[in-house]
C-alpha cells in the first residue's frame, strides 16, 4: 500500500477564468438590481448568486475533482438547508393564501 496522495493540480488559467467570471457576475448582480423586474428581481439575483457559489465550490474548493463521498456531502448540506427552508416556508410563506 503505497497510496501517496497525488494532488489534482488545476491550471492557473482555470483559476483566473473563475475569478474573472465571479467579478463579471458581481457586476451583473448590481446591474440587474437597478432594473425594476418586479417579482423577478430576487429570483434573478439568486440565480446569479448560485452560479457564483457553484464556481467557487466546484473549482476553488475542488469539489469537481473530489471523490463521490465529498460530492455527496456537498449536495447533502444544501439538501438539509432546503428541507429547513421548505418546512418553515410551508407555514410562514403560505399564510393568507386562503384569504384569511
Amino acid at each position: 500500500m503505497s497510496g501517496d496522495h497525488k494532488p489534482h493540480v488545476v491550471p492557473i488559467s482555470h483559476y483566473i477564468g473563475v475569478f474573472v467570471a465571479l467579478i463579471v457576475l458581481t457586476g451583473a448582480t448590481y446591474w440587474t438590481a437597478l432594473l425594476d423586474l418586479g417579482a423577478l428581481n430576487t429570483p434573478v439575483a439568486m440565480t446569479i448568486a448560485i452560479v457564483k457559489a457553484l464556481l467557487v465550490v466546484l473549482i476553488f474548493m475542488h469539489v469537481k475533482y473530489s471523490n463521490k463521498l465529498i460530492q455527496t456531502m456537498a449536495v447533502a448540506s444544501v439538501l438539509w438547508l432546503l428541507i429547513m427552508f421548505a418546512f418553515t416556508g410551508q407555514d410562514y410563506l403560505t399564510r393568507g393564501w386562503l384569504g384569511n
Binding site: 465550490v57 456531502m73 456537498a74
Partner: protein
C-alpha cells in the same frame, strides 16, 4: 511526534491510524465537509429568519436595504473574490512544490484582502452608528433619524437591521477567525509543513476561507441590493 505519526516516504506526516496519505487526505476532506455542513445550517437559520421577515414586511425590507452602502458592499464582494483567488493559488503552490516563500507570499496577499474587508466593514458599521441605525430602543425614537427615514415602517426596518448586523457580524466573526488561522498556516508554511504529498492543513483552511466567501456571495444581493432599483442608483450617500 513518534507516538503521533510515522514518517511516510519523503518524510511527510502520516498519522498512525491511517493506512496511507491518500486515506489521510480523504478523511481530512470528509471531516472538513462535515464541519461545513453544520456551518451552512448555522448560517441557514439566519437566512431562514430573513426569508420569513422579508415575506412579512417587504416594503420595510426595500426601504432599509436602500440605507446600506452598495459601493462599500460591492467593493467588499470584489475584495473577497480576490482573496479566494489568492487562497486557491497558495494551495496550488503547495500542490506543485513551489516552496515556502511563494506559499507565504500568496497567504500574505490573502491576509491583506481579508483585513481590507474588515476595515471596509468597520467604516460601514461606523456609518450606521452615526445615523442611529442600530437596533435598539433608540431606533424607534420618534425624533430619531430612523423614524424620519422609515416612517410607519420603522419597527419592521429595525428587524431588518437586527438581521443585517447578525448576518454580517457572524460573517465578519468568521473572517476574524480565518485571519487568526491564516497566521497559523503561515507559520506552518514557514516551517515547510506543506509539500505536494501532504498539504492537508492548508487545503482544509482554504475550504473554510472559500466557504466564508460563498456566504458573502449570498449576503450581498440579499441585504444590499433590494432597494437599488427604487431610485435607479445605489444606496451610497
Amino acid at each position: 511526534m513518534s507516538q503521533q505519526a510515522h514518517a511516510a516516504p519523503g518524510g511527510v506526516r502520516l498519522a498512525h491510524h491511517f493506512d496511507d496519505l491518500q486515506q489521510q487526505h480523504e478523511s481530512a476532506q470528509l471531516g472538513m465537509w462535515a464541519f461545513m455542513l453544520t456551518e451552512i445550517l448555522f448560517f441557514g437559520g439566519l437566512f431562514l429568519c430573513y426569508i420569513v421577515y422579508r415575506n412579512l414586511y417587504p416594503e420595510a425590507w426595500q426601504l432599509a436595504s436602500h440605507q446600506l452602502n452598495v459601493l462599500m458592499g460591492g467593493i467588499n464582494t470584489a475584495v473577497l473574490i480576490c482573496s479566494s483567488l489568492t487562497m486557491a493559488l497558495a494551495i496550488r503552490t503547495a500542490q506543485t512544490g513551489g516552496g515556502r516563500i511563494p506559499q507565504i507570499a500568496w497567504l500574505t496577499l490573502t491576509l491583506i484582502f481579508g483585513m481590507a474587508f474588515l476595515v471596509i466593514k468597520y467604516f460601514e458599521y461606523a456609518e450606521k452608528f452615526e445615523h442611529g441605525l442600530i437596533p435598539g430602543p433608540s431606533f424607534i425614537d420618534p425624533s430619531g433619524h430612523a423614524a424620519a427615514v422609515f416612517g410607519g415602517e420603522v419597527r419592521h426596518a429595525r428587524i431588518f437591521f437586527s438581521l443585517y448586523f447578525m448576518m454580517t457580524g457572524l460573517h465578519a466573526f468568521h473572517m476574524i477567525v480565518g485571519i487568526g488561522l491564516m497566521l497559523w498556516m503561515m507559520r506552518c508554511s514557514w516551517k515547510g509543513y506543506f509539500t505536494p504529498k501532504n498539504y492537508d492543513g492548508l487545503e482544509m483552511f482554504g475550504l473554510y476561507w472559500h466557504f466564508v466567501d460563498v456566504v458573502w456571495i449570498f449576503l450581498f444581493p440579499l441585504l444590499y441590493l433590494l432597494g437599488a432599483h427604487a431610485t435607479g442608483a445605489g444606496g451610497a450617500h
